[in-house]
């Protein structure tokens, strides 16, 4: 039996590695309160705001499906497709508090035929790909069991 591989984020600083209750990490302008994901750290992008200071904030772990799709062919590099390939779903999810839409793959095993806009989804962490040393983790959206 092989050793358990180290789990590392597929991109640094975008989400917490808390596997039970993961959160996306955004930033929030200290002047106007606008949220950013991925994090903004230099200048606020609200054209009415001169803010240049931000707090790192965890984003809502739940949201509502805005739209969704199933990708039936593997994307080209730098995507690392599973072998053998299995279609993967991608969701656009509305976060109520932040008033923004965040994309992400949907959790493994999501039945696209069962999805409807407005459905509640929650953030989970799953393996995106692995190499000899590590498993690279990414955020995904998972329908909340009714």
């Amino acid at each position: 039996m092989s050793e358990v591989k180290k789990r590392v984020p597929a991109v640094e600083g975008w989400f917490t590695m808390d596997e039970e209750q993961p959160r996306l990490l955004g930033s929030r302008c200290k002047s106007c309160g606008t949220y950013f994901f991925p994090k903004e750290s230099f200048f606020c992008k609200n054209p009415n705001c001169a803010g240049a200071e931000f707090d790192e904030v965890p984003l809502s772990p739940m949201g509502k499906l805005w739209s969704f799709t199933n990708n039936c062919y593997a994307a080209p590099a730098p995507f690392i497709a599973p072998d053998p390939f299995v279609p993967y779903a991608i969701a656009a999810v509305e976060l109520a508090e932040e008033r923004m839409v965040v994309l992400g793959q949907m959790a493994e095993g999501t039945e696209v035929g069962d999805l409807k806009a407005g459905m509640e989804v929650e953030l989970v962490l799953e393996k995106l790909y692995e190499d000899d040393a590590s498993e690279y983790m990414v955020w995904r959206w998972k329908p909340v069991a009714a």
């Binding site: 991109v11 309160g33 991925p38 990708n71 994307a75």
Partner: protein, 395 residues
């Protein structure tokens, strides 16, 4: 209203997968446009090139590349890049030179040679580039985004896969006789719905391919045109506006939208604002149009455009399509050229090709795909990173 400039000549190299250098396609298009205009290459005072990112350094300096290929004539050059809107930006650059009085006659050109398959980001590890990250972290291709918009139409307006397929059927009929179109085959709804699913609900025959091709225009001041042509087609507007914060529709290649926490979402969509700016500049409205060429990157996206350019209300695009209003012979034909469905996309040439089609239509020289009595037309186009364009031509 902006001052107008004249389109003296148009030319295209047919779209396809020819496997040759983009420069060859561009020179062919330029020579055709010059001949059409009755203007000698040596008379051209300004060359405005639309860049391609896939063909190395010559692609980044397209204006100079084409000027050299045509034989250096001392003209000033500029090269523009604004993703899929590059051709319109190159056109606008030439218009500004003319309206500012720096030149009388200019050549606008874009050409591309494309690889097979999905458009992919440039190679190398670039974890700060959203275009790289959307592929790496999600495997989100361009069709992924088109599919999200298409599914949204189904969810909120009740659009069906059959509606989307009918857009392709219509455009395939429009493009049948277009000598510059790459795909000249009539599709049935059954054939479209029988093609492989790529990004649910969009199928292979509903998603824009990448193509080789080139398009060119000879643009001049109205005064210069009066000596050369009677009643030339005129450019009444070129809109290249960017989105308004906060943009609430997730755009290529972003992973999230702006947050509307502190500023409400604007009433108009980004695509809608691109067309609105063109109407304002031209001093006309959607009701004055006789035809439109819109960017059908997917079959479903053509329906979004109907609403964005204001030829129907939100949620009524499927009815407009199914009533035959957007078919040649209908009230407001859309994509009489066959659109991207019949061309595929040759990025820097595409917005110019849209203007070529409107020019032929307004001249009454579009052959079997002629929209009878066309006097005003609009192009609409959208690309990555907040780029979009809309050009209005008048007779």
């Amino acid at each position: 209203m902006a001052d107008e400039v004249a389109i003296l000549g148009v030319g295209m190299h047919p779209w396809g997968k020819w496997g040759r250098k983009f420069v060859e396609y561009g020179v062919k298009a330029c020579r055709d446009a010059l001949e059409d205009a009755g203007v000698e290459w040596k008379e051209i005072q300004f060359v405005s090139g639309a860049d391609t990112m896939r063909c190395g350094y010559p692609g980044y300096v397209a204006g100079a590349t084409f000027a050299q290929a045509l034989g250096w004539n001392g003209a000033r050059v500029a090269s523009s890049y604004s993703a899929c809107a590059s051709g319109a930006t190159a056109l606008n650059t030439a218009r500004m030179q003319i309206l500012a009085g720096f030149c009388d006659v200019a050549l606008v050109v874009g050409g591309d040679t494309t690889p097979k398959g999905f458009l992919a980001p440039q190679s190398g590890d670039r974890p700060d580039d959203p275009d790289w990250l959307r592929f790496r972290l999600m495997g989100a291709t361009n069709p992924t985004y088109f599919a999200l918009y298409a599914r949204r139409r189904m969810e909120i307006y009740g659009a069906t896969e059959s509606d989307f397929a009918k857009v392709k059927v219509k455009n395939s009929r429009h493009g049948l006789s277009n000598p510059n179109a790459r795909y000249r085959k009539e599709f049935t709804e059954e054939e479209v719905l029988g093609s492989p699913m790529v990004a649910d609900p969009l199928r292979l025959f509903e998603i824009c391919a990448t193509s080789d091709g080139a398009a060119a225009l000879v643009l001049s001041s109205m005064e210069y045109a009066r000596k050369r042509a009677t009643a030339p087609v005129r450019v009444a507007a070129i809109s290249t506006v960017t989105p308004q914060f906060p943009s609430s529709i997730v755009e290529l290649p972003d992973i999230a939208t702006d947050s509307a926490y502190s500023v409400p979402v604007p009433d108009n969509t980004f695509r809608g604002s691109v067309a609105t700016a063109a109407y304002t500049e031209a001093g006309i409205g959607a009701e004055d149009l006789d035809l439109a060429e819109v960017y059908d990157l997917s079959s479903a996206m053509e329906l979004d455009w109907y609403e964005d350019i204001g030829i129907c209300k939100r949620g009524e695009a499927e009815k407009l399509l199914n009533d035959g209003d957007t078919t040649i012979g209908g009230r407001i034909p859309v994509n009489p050229s066959g659109g991207l469905a019949c061309f595929g996309e040759a990025v820097p040439a595409q917005a110019i090709a849209q203007v070529c089609e409107l020019t032929w239509q307004l001249r009454g020289k579009a052959g079997e795909r002629q929209v009878e009595g066309a006097k005003a037309g609009l192009t609409a186009n959208q690309g990555l990173f907040g780029h979009g364009s809309s050009v209005i031509l008048k007779k």
